[in-house]
């Protein structure tokens, strides 16, 4: 499977009377875009705002971050099964508005929504402070259930991102990249002989409201572990259900730009033989955990992998899924490295994971999410500060009178991403 990505670099966003990309500037007419969002009766009110890198802006509560893309050639469309019809994506050509993102914001559904600061110490921890962000701020209709509100906000973001992506369809990319994923038979080619057969086990959060992930439109908690071609993710085969704590949720942007996939594809044929990837869920029931991890280990042996990278999503309960996946692969002789973040307490002195096993002897840490951080006040807030005290990582009194915030790193969207998207670590 071969996918060409064409990047159209965006250097700024402004509002105007039409929707277009001109000289790297995204010009948007907000009226019709908002009309599109308000077509869903679950959303009472919506507006758009712009946040650029370095500006004194705090965006919160952040639900999802999405990169606009469009399928130019090849089967299917972006976000298959969610926005586009179900069709296997991951081949042909896709155009991307690079350097920007759509950020969805709105009154809190649960506790998991986060903060993006565009400048200051908080900005160092989130990759999204480096992007030109178009922020969609939504107000839910009165009296709707949390499940309906979450779905409406999720779909509004995905649909608006697809609308924006369409603007890139006929543009000439500033840069292109080609990604090829081999068929299993091809991984036995003579040219790859001698290189270790490496696989990727990607764990998908699927514990319920605000802890969900969708694969081709299917709620991942209703899926069995399966294989997927890495380039399928680049066309939006997996999207975020806006899950877990802000710091270690995989936003849709992360799924589209999965760094493990990119780095493994980059090394394929050089230092390793990237055989393929397995996606597996993280559910709340023991029988599901056992089944999913059994299935993952069986598939890893079947393909087979010599070694695998396992990425977790979330923390606490999914630590058990992580340990099961890792130990079951290791017991089959498949060497593993896991990527996880830590909850070592604000003083860093506590045990970092809720589960452990001596076989889990190669861990990449993406940082201690409990680390206290002080975020100075910003000149402008997009969204509302009403929920700072109650989001995961906040506490009573997190929001101080001067608008500064004292909280745990947990509150920052993408700060301890367990795909290894950032350089943050802990020792």
């Amino acid at each position: 499977m071969k996918l060409e990505l064409g990047y159209i670099d965006i250097h700024g966003i402004r509002f105007g009377d039409r929707n277009a990309v001109e000289d790297g500037i995204l010009i948007l007419n907000p009226g019709p875009l908002i009309e599109q969002v308000l077509a869903d009766p679950h959303i009472r009110q919506a507006h758009l705002e712009i946040a650029n890198p370095g500006e004194s802006i705090r965006i919160t509560p952040v639900k999802d971050v999405i990169e606009p893309r469009v399928k130019v050639e090849g089967p299917g469309g972006i976000f298959p099964g969610m926005v586009s019809k179900v069709d296997t994506v991951g081949s042909g050509r896709t155009h991307i508005l690079r350097g920007m993102a759509l950020v969805t914001v709105g009154r809190i559904v649960g506790f998991q929504e986060g903060i993006i600061d565009m400048t200051g110490p908080g900005a160092d921890y989130t990759p999204f402070s480096k992007l030109h962000n178009l922020v969609l701020v939504m107000e839910p209709a009165d009296g709707i259930s949390p499940h309906d509100y979450e779905k409406a906000a999720r779909m509004a973001g995905l649909q608006l991102a697809v609308t924006l992506g369409e603007l890139a369809r006929d543009l000439t990319p500033d840069e292109t990249e080609v990604f090829k994923t081999p068929r299993i038979a091809e991984t036995f080619d003579a040219a790859l002989r001698g290189l270790p057969r490496v696989g990727y086990v990607m764990m998908l959060q699927s514990q319920g409201l605000l802890h969900d992930t969708y694969v081709y439109g299917v709620d991942a908690k209703r899926t069995l572990s399966t294989i997927i071609r890495p380039t399928e993710l680049m066309d939006g085969a997996i999207v975020s259900g806006n899950c877990v704590s802000a710091c270690d949720k995989n936003t849709t942007y992360h799924h589209l730009n999965n760094p493990v996939i990119r780095d493994l594809l980059d090394q394929h044929g050089k230092t390793l033989n990237f055989v393929g990837m397995i996606i597996t869920n993280e559910t709340v029931y023991l029988s599901d955990k056992v089944r999913s991890s059994d299935w993952t280990a069986e598939m890893a042996e079947y393909l087979p992998f010599d070694g695998a990278i396992i990425s977790q999503e979330g923390f606490g309960n999914p630590d058990t899924d992580l340990i099961m996946n890792c130990t079951k692969l290791e017991k089959k002789g498949i060497k593993t490295v896991v990527i996880t973040d830590e909850y070592a307490g604000p003083d860093g002195k506590s045990q970092s994971l809720a589960d452990a096993d001596a076989l889990v002897n190669a861990v990449v840490s993406t940082g201690n999410a409990n680390m206290p951080i002080v975020l100075p006040p910003m000149d402008r807030v997009i969204g509302t500060l009403d929920y700072v005290d109650t989001i995961a990582g906040g506490h009573d009194g997190s929001l101080r009178a001067d608008g500064s915030i004292e909280a745990e790193l947990q509150v920052i969207t993408g700060a301890t991403n367990e795909l290894g998207y950032n350089r943050l670590s802990a020792r």
């Binding site: 649960g110 506790f111 949390p146 270790p196 514990q207 319920g208 409201l209 802890h211 704590s245 760094p259 493990v260 493994l264 230092t271 390793l272 070694g307 990278i309 606490g316 309960n317 060497k335 593993t336 490295v337 990527i339 996880t340 830590e342 909850y343 070592a344 307490g345 003083d347 002195k349 506590s350 970092s352 994971l353 452990a356 096993d357 889990v360 002897n361 190669a362 990449v364 201690n368 409990n370 109650t390 989001i391 995961a392 906040g394 506490h395 009573d396 745990e408 790193l409 947990q410 991403n417 367990e418 795909l419 290894g420 998207y421 950032n422 350089r423 943050l424 670590s425 802990a426 020792r427």
Partner: protein
């Protein structure tokens, strides 16, 4: 510019008194730098000066621990230093233990920051790594030139009360305190490199060594439930509506105790969950799903259990540190014991 004053502790060998046969040499204070102190003086530049060096035999220190500690502490106290440096001891076991012991004592009893250095397998390392900063050294004195600037730099940071970075940045042995830092490469690349090393049987270092968890054997079964007082304790975050104790949705620092005498049912009007780690909708609809007061009341009426305890205890088990959880458990257990509770149903989510 005024210079920080430093006292340096070394053993009989580095004090040029003699080797093993002089290990009984009692502590002696000399003016200015001695032996490795010269290298430290260079590393400190004009920022700090070694005013005194304490030379002490390794056997004398370890075999007269109380006397030795007191003697050396008195010598340090007289100098009123800003910083105390011990060693480096490399892989010399008794020297390492002495360095760790006296550095720890200087910090706790005199309130003066201290730094030592030793090889990871030195017995002093495991004894003192969580108490004092121990800079990682090689296993012999050939590494002196590399380690002295690291110890001096860390010492100066301590004196200036500057933020101490992660062990890997500063060069000290991991001390049980996890610290964040920005690595050179992103996590996905580090994972691939680590995996390739593991696959090729090359050395690799995990970024998080697995802890050993204590396993608690379950208590003996209750012989007669019909006489037992049963309490409900949950990490599912059930609280009276409005969360009066402000238990955090994640990383809880507290728990609540809630009176349920006379309560037969937890309703959506009266109780909710504060937990941020699971779908709260069903717990908010009916908190009995997490804290089954309704069923236990029925059991109580039917005589299946003696009594449902008048209080239930609740916290949020979501990213909550093991240390906090241990503390909650100790406190709750003491209260339950004092209140004559025979058994607990622990519900989690």
């Amino acid at each position: 510019m005024s210079q920080y004053k430093v006292v340096h502790y070394i053993n009989q060998f580095f004090g040029q008194v003699g080797s093993e046969e002089m290990a009984d040499y009692p502590a002696e204070k000399r003016e200015g730098p001695v032996g490795p102190g010269i290298a430290f003086t260079m590393a400190f530049g004009d920022q700090a000066v070694i005013t005194a060096t304490i030379v002490c035999g390794d056997s004398w220190y370890n075999e007269n621990l109380d006397l030795a500690k007191k003697t050396v502490l008195d010598m340090v106290r007289e100098e009123k230093p800003d910083l105390f440096i011990a060693g480096p001891a490399f892989n010399a076991g008794r020297y390492g233990v002495a360095c760790g012991s006296i550095a720890d004592a200087v910090q706790t009893e005199l309130g003066i920051p201290a730094v030592t250095g030793m090889y990871v397998e030195n017995p002093g390392a495991d004894m003192y790594r969580e108490k004092v900063y121990i800079v990682a050294t090689g296993d012999n004195a050939a590494g002196m030139r590399r380690v002295v600037p690291v110890m001096a730099g860390l010492g100066l940071k301590l004196v200036k009360r500057q933020e101490i970075g992660a062990s890997i940045e500063e060069g000290y042995l991991p001390n049980g305190v996890r610290k964040n830092f920005f690595d050179q490469k992103r996590g996905s690349l580090r994972a691939i490199e680590m995996l390739l090393n593991k696959l090729h049987d090359k050395p690799f270092v995990t970024e998080y060594p697995m802890p050993s968890y204590d396993r608690v054997p379950p208590g003996p079964a209750i012989r007669d439930l019909s006489r037992a007082s049963i309490a409900l304790v949950t990490s599912g975050g059930i609280v009276p509506k409005g969360n009066p104790d402000h238990i955090e949705s994640s990383s809880a620092t507290r728990y609540g105790s809630y009176h349920i005498a006379g309560v037969d049912d937890l309703t959506s009007e009266t109780y909710e969950t504060a937990h941020g780690g699971y779908d709260p909708v069903y717990a908010n609809q009916d908190a009995d799903r997490i804290v089954p007061v309704d069923v236990l009341r029925q059991f109580e009426k039917e005589g299946k259990i003696g009594k449902l305890h008048d209080w239930f205890y609740s916290t949020v088990g979501n990213g909550t540190s093991v240390a906090s959880s241990k503390r909650f458990a100790m406190e709750i257990t003491e209260k339950l014991l004092a209140q004559g509770v025979d058994a607990v149903i622990l519900t989690s989510t």
